[in-house]
Amino acid sequence: MAMKKFLFVQTQPPHGSINGQEGLDAVLMGSAFTECAVLFLDDGIYQILSDQQTGPLNSKDYSVTYLALADYGVNNIYCCQTHLNERSLSTKDLILPVQALPEASIRRLFDEYDVILSF
C-alpha cells in the first residue's frame, strides 16, 4: 500500500487555545512516519508571526519550534495569500519561509494529500 501523505491545517491563533501546539506536535510526530505538509489558514497564520514574546504570559513561545520542521523533512509549508492580505501581512513577517498560494490552489492541496487533519 502506498504511503499516505498528510496535510496538517492550522486554523487557530497561538496562545489562546492549545490547538496550535497540538497541531505542531502532531506534524512532528507524523513526519517520523510519512510525508507531511502544513497549511496555515485564517488566524492560523498568526502562529508563525515573527517576534512573539510570551514571557509576560508565562507560556512557551512554541513558534520557534516551527523552525525544526525543515530538520524533520517537512519542507512543504503553505498559507493563503488572501488570508495574509486580510491581516496586512506578508511572508516577510513570518518566522519561516512559507509558500503563499492563491485561494484557488488551496482546494488542489486538499486533493493532493490523502489525509487532512485540522487543528
Partner: protein
C-alpha cells in the same frame, strides 16, 4: 471528492465561508453539533449554489429545536447515514 464537516455555529466563525470557498463541485457537507445552526444562516444558499451535497444530522437538529427551519435543499440524515457518507467520501476536511 471531499466530505466537509462543520461542527461549530457559522454565526461565530468563518466555517461556512471557508467551506464554500475551498470546496469543489460534487463535494459533500455535513452539519453536526452546533454546525446545524448553518441551516438558519443567511449564507447557506452559497453552498447550494456551489452544487455541493448538503446534509445535516437529525439528532442535533431536533436537540436544538431547528426541525421547523430546515430548508428542502438540505438532506436530513441519521447517524448510520452519516457513517455511510464517511465510507462514500473517505477524505474529510473538518472546518
Amino acid at each position: 471528492m471531499l466530505l466537509h464537516t462543520i461542527n461549530q455555529s457559522p454565526f461565530s466563525n468563518f466555517s461556512l465561508k471557508s467551506c464554500e470557498k475551498f470546496s469543489a463541485v460534487g463535494d459533500a457537507v455535513v452539519f453536526l453539533e452546533n454546525g446545524v445552526y448553518a441551516l438558519v444562516h443567511p449564507n447557506l444558499h452559497l453552498l447550494i449554489q456551489a452544487d455541493l451535497n448538503v446534509f445535516a444530522l437529525q439528532a442535533d437538529i431536533l436537540a436544538r429545536g431547528l426541525q421547523h427551519s430546515c430548508p428542502d435543499t438540505v438532506k436530513i440524515i441519521s447517524y448510520p447515514q452519516f457513517v455511510e457518507l464517511c465510507v462514500q467520501y473517505p477524505k474529510q476536511k473538518a472546518w
